[in-house]
Amino acid sequence: MNLKTLIPQKLKEKFPSVDFEVLDYRDELTIKFDKKSIVEVCNFLKSESDLDFNWCSDITAVDWATRKNRFTVVYNIFSMKHNFRLRLKADVDETDCKIDSVTSVWGAANWQERETYDMYGIKFNNHPDLRRMYMPEEFEYYPLRKDFPLMGIPGSLPLPKK
């Protein structure tokens, strides 16, 4: 069976209580669901032998600025067995800016989540080493948020101590 129909069907069978929103755009499959079940779904996608999404290619987030759920965390995973790319999405609100970490599923998620935290300020629960990736630890802002100005904030990056 075609993976594009198989994946949503399998997910709906396995997680009847979760609401999956399936989108197919430009031949790419995107599945959106609630952030609470992210680890279970990822675990299932990886361990199920028919799917076998063994490679976490990328994790990032999108800041929608004005929407009710301000951020969307985007997981870009790949199945080397089937040569199939899948995008998972979960909304995160600014007031509860947290989502469970998937480092237990894919080791590669470690730095990718750190980068997302650094750039958007989304906290990943149970992350083994949640530090900033690029910016210095003292930096108070999250640069890729839409309210951060392009030219930066003067004085926010102090010169190193002598």
């Binding site: 755009y25 430009r26 995107t30 999108v62 870009n76 040569n83 590669a108 730095w111 750039m119 690029y134």
Partner: protein, 416 residues
Amino acid sequence: MDQLENEVHPKILEALLKARNDYTLDDALENEMVLNMGPQHPATHGVLRLLLRLDGERIIGCVPDLGYLHRGYEKMAENMSYYEYIPHTDRLDYISPMANNVAWVLAVEKLAGIEAPKRAQYIRMMIAELARIASHLVAIGSFAMDVGALTIFLWTLREREKILDIWDILCGARFTNSYTRIGGVANDAQPEALAKAKWFIDQFEPNLAEVEQLINTNRIFIERVDGVGVISKEDAIDLGFCGPNLRACGMEFDLRRNAPYLCYNEMDFKIPTYTEGDCLARYFLRLDECRESAKIVKQILEKMPQGPVQADMPKKVLPQKDEVYTKMEELIHDFMIVNFGINPPVGEIYHAIEGSKGELGFYLVSKGDGKPWKCKIRSPSFNNIQALPKLVIGHLISDVVAIIGSIDPIMGEADK
């Protein structure tokens, strides 16, 4: 320790002390030591900083610290049009800028629904493969130089110079090319450039064999890298290793074959793999890939079709400059595209190519206006460096230099 706490941020130090320390070594040197390697270190290929925790000379903990070359290219992408961003992709992986140009325009074309003409696709394939050769030559040369075989760097750079000369004819720039355009390439490949590419490929094979002979008979080199920095296939996949490094672990995975783009499915080439997963395998793999790329370029030059090099979509594709100056319609389109952008439909896409370091992808979100709402660069070097602590633990400091050289990180890309 007090002095160290002043110099190293406490959070980084804490991460380092938490790093794997189940090594028990009966060493004469009892005390542990923290060594700061980089960001200004000739062997870290740019501004990679490693904090190493040492027991004697053996590494028991390693924490890479990135961000010294962070220029915020993802933020900048959100504030400029799709065309304006092409020159900035040159600065990501600055060893093979052509491949980045190709990756960016392919992503934008997928988002906007443009298809480049066949000849443009062939030219793009040619420059991407030449970029791979150019990048691997630097990787091999600097890797050999890091472990003490200095001559090889001069030999590989000599070959690389010839590729830069081809790019010079092709687009007028040797290093930061910005040659591709959305919907095609900036100008048709000149017969001189194609002839030079053909000449280069013909003489490349024997010259590469010479380089290989020089390295393979160098016992110091072989003994310093053989069996060093081993990673298993499972660990490599789990840690997001990609590109040549992943293939050196025995995983036959190449986006040119597994998710074909451009016209790679019309080409006949092999995907070299090695099973050892050590530094030596990664070096051999790069040599083999150079040969395969040369083979692909040869086929491209034979099969190169004639025809236009820019798609016929005046509302999306920037017209040629001579037309802008002489024709009214083109002037209007040029004005509209430059000032308001190409406005792809609302949606999001991800497109990746097999860059010289691995999967180089762009995730783009469009809200229907001239600028991307979100641009995420999936850089291979970033994910390759993530596996570095796993590779270096248990080895000596001098091996770290060899391991960094063998995984070939480019900080412009890792730091964005």
